[in-house]
Symmetry: C2
Subunit: 339 residues, 2 copies
């Protein structure tokens, strides 16, 4: 590895697009994320170690952003940088930096399954924004990068929600406060916290998943939900596993969405009987997640969930088992012209 690995949640370089020695090529990766974390619909998100999206970006002579290649789980992702979350986020960075004449060529690798509820669009937006910032040495702040990545997420997925973007950028477990200020609270991550994400081979659409919720929530369910977001937060600060476990419940979205995931109830049962702290839908699904204390339990829970989806619904799955990703976006193999 020539350039080493640096965290860019807090950018490590500053400068501007016109300075000499701009990076020739940079590889940036950002992790999959779990939106909602059960109780915190649209406000909680957490990053996992695997899978990741990545981009290789280099300066190009022609102004603007050009997506040269998309590999991996490509599906129907548009190559048009205005409608692709990585491209749109990169464009937002050029615009914010006032780098009208800068040119950027991107090769995007989609490691995160499409339409899985694992924040793939948000991760692409994050790598697009950070890669652009690195290549043109714009030196944008974390908050500015977040704003650009959210613009990318909006272009790519149609949603301006930051509950996937923020953890993909910052890592860890975050609380995103609603409103235009994009305020993000980074919550403590207990050392032994492990995450299982399982994606059954099943396609659902985020827009459908939103529509099924309607525009109102029963007051009683809402009270339970806001008690649980407070309890989950307290559980993380106090490292109180019982409280964490008790609060990973979604009485608002899950009851309306779980029916779209065959085998969901059995998968939950499999997870909980194997010692998961909690189990729910990842984002708008169809992926599911479980939080566990320790690797061994997590491996066992993952096997149980896979088994349940196969047995009950004849669904193949990918399962990812990892600790919480604490770093967020990563910049690797930076090759500057001075090298």
């Amino acid at each position: 590895m020539t350039g080493g690995r640096t965290r860019t949640g807090r950018p490590t370089r500053t400068g501007n697009a016109e300075s000499a020695g701009a990076a020739a090529a940079v590889r940036v990766s950002a992790p999959a994320t779990i939106g909602n974390i059960a109780c915190g619909f649209d406000v909680f998100g957490m990053a996992v170690e695997q899978p990741c999206d990545a981009v290789v970006a280099r300066a190009a002579p022609e102004p603007g952003v050009n997506i040269e290649r998309i590999t991996g789980d490509v599906g129907p992702i548009p190559g048009d940088p205005a409608r692709n979350s990585a491209g749109a986020a990169a464009r937002a960075v050029l615009e914010m930096a006032g780098a009208d004449s800068a040119g950027l060529a991107l090769e995007l690798h989609k490691g995160i399954p499409l339409a899985g509820g694992m924040g793939g669009s948000a991760s692409s937006a994050v790598v697009g924004a950070v890669a652009a910032d690195q290549v043109i040495r714009a030196g944008l702040s974390r908050r500015q990068l977040l704003r650009c990545a959210v613009a990318g997420e909006l272009a790519g997925s149609g949603s301006p929600a930051a509950d996937n973007v923020a953890p993909a950028l910052y890592g860890g477990i975050v609380l995103v406060l609603p409103g235009k200020t994009l305020q993000v609270v980074e919550l403590p991550v207990p050392d032994e916290l492990w995450v299982v994400v399982v994606r059954p081979h099943l396609e659902t659409r985020t827009e459908d998943a939103r529509r099924v919720l309607g525009e109102h929530v029963p007051l009683k369910a809402a009270v339970t939900q806001w008690a649980n977001t407070a309890a989950f937060t307290a559980g993380l600060y106090a490292c109180d596993w019982d409280l964490i476990s008790r609060s990973i419940r979604d009485v608002v979205a899950e009851p309306l969405r779980a029916g779209r995931i065959p085998g969901f109830a059995r998968a939950r049962e499999a997870a909980m009987t194997r010692g998961a702290l909690g189990f729910s839908i990842s984002g708008s699904g169809p992926s599911v997640f479980a939080l566990c204390r320790g690797r061994e339990t997590a491996e066992d829970v993952a096997a149980g969930i896979r088994w349940a989806f196969g047995e009950t619904a004849a669904l193949d799955c990918e399962a990812y088992v990892s600790p919480v990703n604490r770093d967020g976006v990563r910049v690797e193999d930076v090759k500057a012209e001075e090298d």
Copy 2:
């Protein structure tokens, strides 16, 4: 003071009703409380230093609970111990302790204004439960005392909610998790946190205040609310004043209830321009509260709120300024037969 002051949130004496040397007379007081704390409708509550309800209880020859006198802000409080929250809570203790033959005489002093939204009924329930436990030396656990006080609150106010009862008993700032288990999470209290409670002379009914809410909440408001309960919790743990301030907002109940309190908008404006962290309705009103950093700001905010109610709505008020009460229920001047 003969018996000193002890905390009984965690009971300091054990024994049972039949043991020799049961206390002849005990004085127990419990503080007013602010339910909801803006964002946490039905789940957050906090105790203040003033005002308080108190009871003087002594063993009596005839079995059962007898309320001999009610002083202070008496209003329409029933003397029938089955419908009076202190009496009903005391009865629940006798029953839980299996003390069928025990007799208890209560003198109840209502220091907390009636129907003010300051948790007066809950405080009476707490003093009733703890006084009974002390006099008969039942040695009930905190959780058992909470359960008995909630039974008293239900008898007195018609509501089984514990968001006033729990802070009156434990002190501090608490999160009450919905459900039959009555789980209470005690949250950290920043040292400089001061509280202003102002009660305009205006009568409203808790049941009306509930009815106005309806049974559904707009999803968007609910999302804001559960972001804010998480943010308030994080703010308390991290002692982050900005976050605390940003999260003391109620977009669910306050918009529907504030119209019942003349001068509310001006009172808020007066509080916020004088540096309050946040301002909202205390419980179901008509009292309002403000959280402040430090005594000086709190005194200034209290004066501003009083002025606004007087100026705008020609309403007299009582204002109470205190730090958060950290002790909850207090047992004073215990005179045991051995003395």
